[in-house]
Symmetry: C2
Subunit: 330 residues, 2 copies
């Protein structure tokens, strides 16, 4: 398999993107194509030991950054690393595309300009993959579709379930719907109707509604929602974790004794920080487009890029696209 | 002013409820009426020094607990402490009602059975009051109305702004709308239409959309949303903070050195835990009903109950109901 890696994706590109690709090539040996500014990529490659690794470079003259408006960039920056890389996957010159760049732009280019949707898919879904108290959770949608219909959500459930099975090797993954906690008002009409619909599906292990605390406790493998509330959940998890870290840091620094305590307990803090950061898993799959696309966080370091490439390998090896094609048309 | 306190509200009632009322009576001197099982309340009172305090008891034969279905309890348990207490406020026998009980039941009884809505109010809103990195945030709605129209959200903004001004003494409070972070998809159509409407309002200081991280950073005083996504945000904040605490605790215990570090830095942890817990502020106001109602968390201890009573005092002193009556009909 050949993985196409966007060298111009991360906030500090191409350093982490290139270094991550090298780590992946060294560990797994699959050929990798780095897409982006050829001169910059080669300068970066020259700083590493790459002898014996199967890494080549595809030039793209334009770069889409986090400030670009997604649809404008999709329309006008047609020689961007994202356009070039996604089109390589679309033409069969690569098996997966990995980028830590502008999520909205990747979504727009993949959906509208290159790969398109898998036949039978209503809407592609952005996912997040993060560690809960006992394992991994997949959340879908987290922002591609702010307004949804029950059959969109049901299909997000089917696609996520297939991803969990074939790529993450989770058996009979539990699929739940995100809902709120008020007894009388369990969910919007969208949640209620989706719950009814998903209860009838034979090809997913639907377990009903969950609240955010049940998501983090690991009571489901998959949490399905519209892109708006899924985004609010994920961003709230991140914001609370970051706020707590910052508060702890400043409270610990406030007194000499707590500062000493903080130094001693540092390793424990670091382990927790890793677990709570939704992006330490590398990247999350874009479900429903006709090709494997993994999107990492802009802040990705080389380890995150390497792990994003691992996510791509798992999806290719599990024949994700074929599985979804079959699953949504069953 | 007389505050009516639900003695049967908290999960471990009537202990914390009665003890909190005593603390409040001692500190501020206002008369307090405890509502609930008279024998139990008097037994609890007998364990404290109450000489010179103006505390009396109103009997209610029924108790609504967290497992009760809100509308059923509102309809059938008509001699509950909530019915009796709220009806005292409705009849002018008290100035505010404070309860750490079943939120849905309080909402249903207040709205449908006793106080009713303030004239001109479309829908009452449940609020949360919590500490951000620099001060307090009010969130509304967090669960009373899962589906909303733009004019509901605009009115939540007006009511929350008035509460912040008259009760919490925040000058020109900043009002923002909760939204997601994708550039192309800033919010649902509800968010977009509400943004347009709220931009035209002269009586609030509307600052536009915010994401969860901006909420916790304290970039707004008030965050407005439909009850579904507001609930997801609040529950996600709570869940992430609780998960991080639990993970830290177990990681710190995993090694002797980090355990020593954890002991030394304990005071810093405790300060952070207090700041991150949305319920340490005591309680949050129910906006839009024709009486001051403060709802505390079921886990409330006596300090939380005392602080919930403080929230009630602030609202009564600030003439909140009159302010809202005037504000929504301006």
């Amino acid at each position: 398999m050949r993985i196409i890696v966007d060298a111009m994706g991360s906030d500090t590109c191409p350093g982490p993107d290139v270094a991550g690709a090298i780590l992946a090539a060294r560990e797994w040996g699959d050929p990798i194509t780095l897409v982006g500014d050829k001169a910059k990529i080669e300068a970066e490659l020259a700083q590493h030991q790459t002898a014996g690794l199967s890494i080549d470079v595809a030039h793209a003259s334009q770069v889409i950054d986090m400030t670009d408006k997604a649809t404008d960039a999709a329309k006008h920056k047609t020689d961007s690393s994202m356009h070039v890389g996604l089109s390589m996957v679309s033409k069969g010159e690569g098996d997966a595309f990995v980028s830590a760049g502008n999520t909205g732009a990747i979504l727009a280019i993949a959906t509208l300009k290159s790969l398109g949707r898998i036949k039978g898919v209503h809407r592609p879904a952005l996912t997040a993959l993060f560690q809960n108290a006992v394992g991994y959770t997949i959340a879908a949608d987290i922002g591609a579709n702010t307004e949804c219909k029950p059959d969109f959500l049901a299909q997000f459930g089917v696609m996520s379930s297939l991803y969990a099975e074939v790529a993450l090797k989770i058996e009979k993954p539990r699929v739940a719907l995100l809902s709120n906690g008020e007894e009388e008002e369990k969910g919007t009409s969208l949640v209620k109707e989706s719950n009814e619909l998903m209860s009838t599906l034979k090809n997913i292990n639907f377990i009903g509604n969950v609240e955010p605390k049940e998501v983090l406790a690991g009571e489901t493998d998959i949490v399905i929602s519209d892109g708006y509330s899924g985004n609010i959940m994920i961003r709230s998890f991140e914001a609370a974790a970051a706020t707590m870290r910052n508060l702890l840091r400043s409270e610990i620094k406030a007194q000499p004794l707590t500062m000493l305590g903080g130094l001693l307990s540092g390793p424990a803090f670091n382990r927790v920080r890793k677990r709570m950061d939704p992006f330490e898993v590398g990247g999350a799959v874009l479900l429903g487009v006709a090709g494997v696309v993994i999107i990492g966080h802009g802040r990705s370091n080389e380890i995150a890029i390497k792990n994003a490439i691992l996510r791509a390998r798992e999806a290719v090896q599990g024949k994700l696209i074929e599985a979804i094609q079959e699953g949504v048309n069953a």
